[in-house]
């Protein structure tokens, strides 16, 4: 029999530290598969966040530079400007990108930096124990919103991907999910598109990936994937917000 699916080469054979049913490791695998397929291993630089994915350097067999909390896009800007032939991407969570790193992210996008951001949105602060994040949905219970998030007290969920899509510097902005195998393959397609747009030098690219956090949602992995599809994908609809390559074709 022929082997049709195996571990990507640039994903080290280390066991993941993530909780059972975590979406991070699925996204790690997709990124590693794309780096293999596109032959980027020698020139890829990953900027992991502070958050659950802080140990990404244990898994990716590529160059990695850890950033201070939220400053991924600023560090990536430096790398890409100093080494313009490299492929630079940040891998950030919702606390990193949409809370402490909002300024860096929005200004990097507005400058049209030639980097890719992979934004993993699981609607809670995962690593610190499930506190409310800017992306927490109304009514969602977390340790710091034990009766559910209320708009009058804690405000509304921050849809940063929608905001970035308005900026002229952004070239490709999309939101995907890891809810089902089909959606995982769609996520891979979106990531591939974002990588290609960066390599063509067209502008800033962002892919938001909705991902479950079974531990902090206090659910089994199977229930968390159901909640992701039934609740979170309704709050954060899956779509391509902006794709300037499609617009160019129309022109």
């Amino acid at each position: 029999m022929k082997k049709v699916f195996s571990r990507p080469k640039c994903l080290k054979p280390a066991p993941f530290h993530y909780c059972p049913g975590c979406g991070h490791s699925i996204i790690h695998r997709l990124v590693a598969e794309l780096i293999d397929e596109m032959g980027l291993q020698g020139k890829a630089i990953c900027i992991p966040p502070a958050g659950c994915a802080v140990l990404a350097y244990n898994y990716f067999d590529i160059d990695v530079c850890e950033s201070a909390h939220g400053r991924g896009c600023a560090i990536a800007t430096g790398f890409k400007r100093a080494l313009p032939d490299r492929f630079v991407f940040t891998y950030q969570g919702d606390g990193d990108m949409a809370a402490i790193g909002t300024a860096e992210t929005i200004h990097a996008a507005n400058r049209g930096e030639l980097i890719t951001s992979i934004f993993v949105n699981n609607a809670v602060y995962g690593m610190t124990g499930g506190q409310m994040a800017p992306t927490t949905m109304l009514g969602q219970k977390t340790t710091t919103s034990p009766f559910g998030r209320r708009s009058k007290v804690e405000g509304y969920p921050l849809k940063i991907t929608d905001l970035i899509a308005q900026l002229d510097g952004a070239a490709y902005v999309a939101r995907t999910s890891v809810g089902t195998p089909a959606k995982i393959l769609a996520t891979k397609k979106a990531l591939k598109k974002a990588f290609e747009v960066q390599l063509e030098g067209l502008g800033y690219t962002l892919v938001e990936v909705l991902s479950p956090c079974p531990t902090n949602w206090k659910m089994t992995p199977v229930d968390a994937f159901k909640y992701l599809q039934e609740r979170m994908e309704k709050e954060y609809p899956l779509q391509v917000f902006k794709d300037i390559t499609a617009q160019k074709k129309e022109d």
């Binding site: 029999m1 022929k2 082997k3 049709v4 699916f5 195996s6 571990r7 990507p8 994903l11 066991p15 993941f16 993530y18 909780c19 059972p20 049913g21 975590c22 979406g23 991070h24 490791s25 699925i26 695998r29 089902t180 195998p181 995982i184 393959l185 079974p214 089994t220 992995p221 199977v222 994937f225």
Partner: protein, 70 residues
């Protein structure tokens, strides 16, 4: 009829999230009664019906599954 596909599960990596079981159209995977070294009941492959569709491997968060088809 002989199986069209087969998978191998690295039971040391498995964390018993059961996602592979929910996506398998042939019900060819189940949870083992034994423990792995981390204390999880790993997924195990039940031969016969697998057709090598790779849905389990696409879903597996631990990249513990390899798929063969032929």
């Amino acid at each position: 009829m002989a199986a069209k596909g087969k998978i191998t599960i690295d039971q040391g990596l498995c964390k018993s999230c059961e996602l592979c079981i929910t996506v398998c159209p042939e019900k060819a995977i189940r949870i083992a009664e034994t423990f792995n070294h981390r204390g999880y009941h790993p997924a195990e492959f039940v031969l016969e019906t697998c057709r090598g569709c790779s849905l389990c491997a696409t879903m597996c968060p631990e990249v513990a599954i390899e798929v063969y088809r032929g």
